[in-house]
Symmetry: D2
Subunit: 463 residues, 4 copies
């Protein structure tokens, strides 16, 4: 009589190290054993740890960010087999809800229940790992802790802001087939081989710290050698797409490449802005996602589908179009150099225009950089055919501030405190290095000199 309780198919512990929990894994590979089975049509709950498996704490230093081990992340829940799913089908994944962890009888700190973490990984870390969007300008590691109260979040590190989370999983997708996986490794390997940039351009398979769920040693070794890393999203299955609107109520249509689909999910975000412009800049959290699964037989051919598609849900925060203060940016970089139809450059400039605007109210540049990574800002491609300038826009909802930011004239600076930095960086030093300095096109940007001993980086480079 009536619906029975929704089945929780993945209880996770926030006390036990993620690498010891058999329903988690941190690579994409078809051979990672199933962590459970789901009926076609069933709704289940799936708990997720935060992306780092708890490497970062609710404190006022960004040092833990510097030591994050990228070979460990992201810990995903799964893979789960969906009955009847076959290669060529489409898995219709309806996200019925996403919630932060409310109950954890396992004794974790307050952070997990009511705090999320947002951070910018600056300096060598970012630059080499391909991270932050503005890492050359803002090289210092910084973070902000966000407190959740119901649908809203606030941060002691970025005052006078409160917004409703557009809560979503940053990563979801089905396992690649062996063929798809081979394509990925070849494709990204060629990019790495051809790389002449002074930065890491992709993350190849990495046996160290591989977690293949409940796999036996031989499988685990195979996964380590071949398994795709979780950092980029990929067209064939979606994965780490970081789409802020894949939130409560969305229906996502995912290509199925292996029998049973082998669906994984993780990297929950309480909120994120378009672009998630700082590396792991969304508000990262552990939590639970409730999903309904349906199999569309032969869906890939029937829908003409190569990459995931989705329909957003009806409960996105909405503010009315006239409440979005919107910034324009073009593909002329901060040194005054003209780029050819480069949307990436244009979007970076758009972000800088917003930083310059909000700086007037007393925020440090790092605070704004962090804020734009996680607040529900709208980043649009505006014009991409008028050579040589691509144009993008950034819509900032004015209603997330508790004071008036509308463009009515000179701004009054408020006491905005500051975000958390890595140790050894005083506010003054950050300021001279980027945070509060004036950037002008072609102007004399002086980047902060910083020598960082960073184990993570070295470890990654040696692989």
């Amino acid at each position: 009589m009536g619906l029975t309780e929704i089945r929780n198919i993945c209880e996770v512990s926030l006390d036990i190290p993620a690498e010891r929990q058999p329903k988690l894994h941190n690579r994409w590979h078809p051979d990672i054993p199933s962590a459970g089975s789901i009926k076609n049509g069933e709704t289940v709950k799936i708990e997720c740890v935060d992306w780092t498996g708890g490497q970062i704490g609710n404190n006022d230093s960004a040092d833990d960010m510097k030591n994050v081990d990228l070979t460990r992340i992201h810990y995903l829940s799964g893979p789960f087999e969906v009955e009847t799913a076959e290669p060529g089908d489409v898995l219709l994944v309806e996200i019925m809800d996403v919630q932060p962890h409310q109950q954890h009888p396992w004794g974790l700190s307050v952070l997990v229940r009511f705090g999320g973490i947002i951070e910018v990984l600056g300096g060598v870390f970012d630059k080499n790992n391909g991270g932050g969007f503005l890492d050359e300008i803002y090289p210092t590691a910084a973070k902000a802790i966000w407190d959740f109260e119901g649908i809203y979040c606030t941060s002691r590190h970025i005052p006078h802001v409160k917004f409703a989370g557009l809560i979503h999983p940053g990563i979801l997708g089905c396992a690649p087939s062996a063929e798809v996986l081979a394509t990925w490794n070849k494709r990204e390997g060629e990019l790495i081989a051809a790389n002449k940039l002074d930065r890491i351009v992709a993350q190849p398979p990495e046996p160290e710290n591989v977690h293949a769920g409940s796999a036996a040693e031989d499988i685990k070794e195979k996964v380590g050698k071949e398994g795709a890393r979780t950092i980029p999203g990929r067209p064939e299955h979606g994965g780490n797409c970081d789409i802020k609107n894949l939130s409560r109520g969305s229906k996502v249509f995912l290509p199925v490449h292996v029998k049973g689909a082998k669906f994984s999910v993780g990297d929950l975000h309480f909120s994120q802005g378009d672009g998630e412009i700082s590396f792991c800049g969304a508000i990262e959290m552990s939590g639970v996602v409730t999903i309904n699964f349906k199999v569309m037989k032969n869906g890939m051919a029937d829908l003409g589908m190569k990459s995931p598609i989705y329909l957003p849900g009806p409960v996105e925060p909405h503010y009315g179009p006239g409440r979005y203060l919107t910034f324009e940016g073009f593909s002329v970089d901060e040194h005054g150099k003209q780029h050819y139809m480069d949307v990436t450059v244009a979007y970076r400039q758009t972000i800088l225009r917003c930083i310059e605007y909000l700086r007037r109210f007393g925020y440090s540049d790092y605070q704004v950089y962090l804020l734009l990574s996680c607040a529900p800002v709208q980043g649009h491609v505006a014009g991409i055919v008028d050579i040589p300038n691509a144009c993008t826009t950034l819509g900032l909802p004015m209603d997330i501030f508790d004071f008036d930011i509308s463009p009515t004239g000179k701004a009054t600076k408020l006491d905005m405190g500051n975000c958390a930095y890595e140790s050894g960086v005083t506010e003054g030093k950050v300021t001279s290095g980027g945070a509060n300095s004036e950037h002008s096109w072609g102007g004399g940007l002086t980047f902060k000199e910083k020598t960082v001993v960073n184990n993570v980086k070295e470890k990654v480079l040696s692989s």
Copy 2:
């Protein structure tokens, strides 16, 4: 007693060639004489011709597209001087309305009153002029004519679609100062000089067909030598920004670089999609824009503003988030090549995913390409920090179709007719060249061989 009639400060004729009308011009230069004066606080009407000054007709051939002379475009209305505006101020431009031409006692054809023009310039034209976003895949010139009925438009060339226009000027901005203009020419000249691509990357100043409004010959010659072309938008003043949401009710904040601001406007669009992905792919029209002007003294410094910002109006068409079928794209190109964090590549892939999807209903690829250029599609930057894949999304409002396009299974093909092509291109040829062929990553794309004698191209190349 009451408001007097809103002053029309720019009557244009659709019968007299644009180059002979003194309130039009087609270059950006501080010395182009004022076409009229506006009071601080005043609302005025400004009529505009379509971007080509009438070079393209309401017919079923795209040949007129091939012969469009890019040295002539865009014909802008202005420049208008706003009283009290000085360099460093901000000009607050409130777009009270944009309307297609309703009355023209000058006897123009039906096209002007109820038809707009959308076109893709393909082949050599596009490829060399930096035009269409997908020109390598869809090289044939094509166009669609749209009929306006009130707020809605439909096209005999793309059936089963009707949508409300998000009507806006594609170009608006204040004149550059001599210094700003010099920066532009230097910046874009360096790009041209360094160019190794097999395509034109920017449009340098071009004396041929320059129109400097009411300027005397010596000024006209100067404008021809120095005047910036209208094709790209530029960060210092906005200009050709092609932002679809700069529609009715928007407040745009424009930097002022010269005394009197010298505001120009033109390139009216009945509707446009994010990116305006085919060159002049918006629904181009002549019409009238009603604008209120206010001067914010010292606004650039007070607002910390380098590029225009704006607040959209309250009457944008809205469909509810759940009515946007949304496609994902990543920076892996159609040949299977991995690019590094390239949003442009990602957005192109996103568009292709949508073309593949809609193709199932019987549309040709060209029809969809044209449609996505002008329908109110939402192009978002989703994720740009997960190396090496940028991710973008394209939201397609399902409610603009009069049949159900939701992803429920195999599609039924309808008779969709076709859009207008250049002569010599039969539908079959187009098909073999791109329109209906299956593109696959790394697959054997066979591009259409086409030798075009194209005066426009040669003229531009020789400059």
Copy 3:
């Protein structure tokens, strides 16, 4: 080749008295001759005069309101015959656009082009004609003139307010059959016969000033004797429904009762609030409506339809839910009396709560009363089952004010000037009679004593 110009099937003159124009009429009757024929599927333009046929002027006195002759109104355009329409069909009316008159080569005053009229008819007039919703509290005639600038309107009589019009026809519908008309007259006649209220409760047929279009004298006489007045909307055909959301882009499904449907339209509103709480309180204007007509054969039975239904268009102004300051009201009247489940009383109280709130900023009560009649306020039925109190809400969009009206504490009064009153009423007198006095539940409301000689009233009463 392409759409021909949209046919204008009803040119009206703003110089010739409405009663002499054969395409206008002011009663509902099946025998009023057709004013033109429309093809099934056709889109046409229909010009409309304002509801009074020009009885009210753009001035600063409300005296013209007092002398409005209700036997003349509303002048509707039509009736138009739609080919193939038969009784039992549904006429699908798609409102492609509504615009104020832009061109009138007939020499009318500025009012028509850029001004609309909103008025409250107070005192005896209202009370007896069943007009204003709050006429017992605000008995004085008042009006405000609104100026249109594109999509926006402002008023010299209600400063610090600007909003986008949700433009729509207040009246549209198909002619009644003889049977339907007889039902109306019987039904409303019984109400009049049973009336014990000290006010007029319905408007019976009235031969005086009847306008039956191009009808011959005998038909005109018949229409005068039987024809239904235009003041109420009626369930069988809609008519004077005053639904603010029947705006641009709406699809209205109308029951057809006579051959050819005989569609009429008029009473154009630039904007209206839910309830149109003062009699003719919307912003009344002359203008032109563009409509597409389609016949759904047997639609009434197929849709199970007795009264019109509609689908709104996609371009309604929207502000985001959080921008609506919302007032609650219950069915306890301003004298403290408890009514039983009376939504009308509850809505009146809700309006009063809003008046009291806005009064704090310096507005007179009459200004707010006028404003709530025409601004896009949302009036909802909240709860109607908890005896004895019905509860309603009124959502006021805060973004229509150019100052902050949010509930943050004590208000600062601004200089708000005043609206136009009938002569003999000084501001002070109005103030003491209602405008600025404190109304409290059960408190000592002292209504203004006013003896009005009002021809309209006497004329109506004697019928």
Copy 4:
């Protein structure tokens, strides 16, 4: 370091009878002892039982509805004292979240975790208690059970429907002062005394089954004699306002009448339509509400406030205006009788129009009646000045159905099963009595004859 866990100030048990839990109460009275204290500025969690305290079960019979004891309801959580609040202040209540109960280690049935209850109380019960809006037409008791899956709900009793809940408390407010309470009792007592209707028009104080929280016997007795019932909302404090948009993220401004405010909350609804047209027709549930409290000193005078006001939150479900199929209704009742400006009659007719429309798809009238009570339908006051007809509209979001309900022609009936009825009522009997019969204006409505022995009714009447 970071926010500490949000304090739960009201744990309730779903196993212990509500009347034995000291933090619950079921009357409004200033002397009910405080159930806890809240700091000015604090956010707390408050658990609530469902409105009946568990009298109704998750089953397929409506018999439990018949035996609901109205002297017991509603069980509210509180009253809570907010520090520093004084009479004349305003309590700013920000609803941070509302959630159904997720964890209940107390062993309650599945109903509580994943099921809500919606019911119509028909027959004598409704008619006498002033309940259902359409009780004369639909006199049979019926109910539907809704299952919650994340933000969505579905019902086995009303198939092919799924919607996101606009979750909210139906009741919230501060305690009345002795003076306010006296006003209520006098006001409602006069209504009861003057009543000539054949139904109960208000609920006077009732000692039987009074629950005064932790009050001593003498206080409890006093509360029984004087305490206001919870059924109507009242203008002075809000209370049982049943406003569907008072949902997540709303800020409600409540008048304070006693020291400490003494705030109570309850009657949680997973979803409700405008009007909550059947008595307790919202989806009733137990759950937990998270609220932030702030005191605005002297707020009532500063805001000119007599009744609560509020600002909705940003996450309401939204579908786009064009997705609301909208019905019109006028104040002519189903017998063809003309009423004078009666919004209640008009809204009832609007509901009937929608029932007639949806009936075509196979739903029974009772199913639609239930559905419209709880789905997020928009009920607007459209026109209330055109004598004698008030006009209202009902907007039905088409996207809550999994089939197309748009008005495109004849409908196909689906197998819709049925809702739960009281025992002794077979589907056939209901059908003949109302559910599927055709109601026409003035037509031969034959109401179901039903003799009900109803203890609740008798008990209430004898008081």
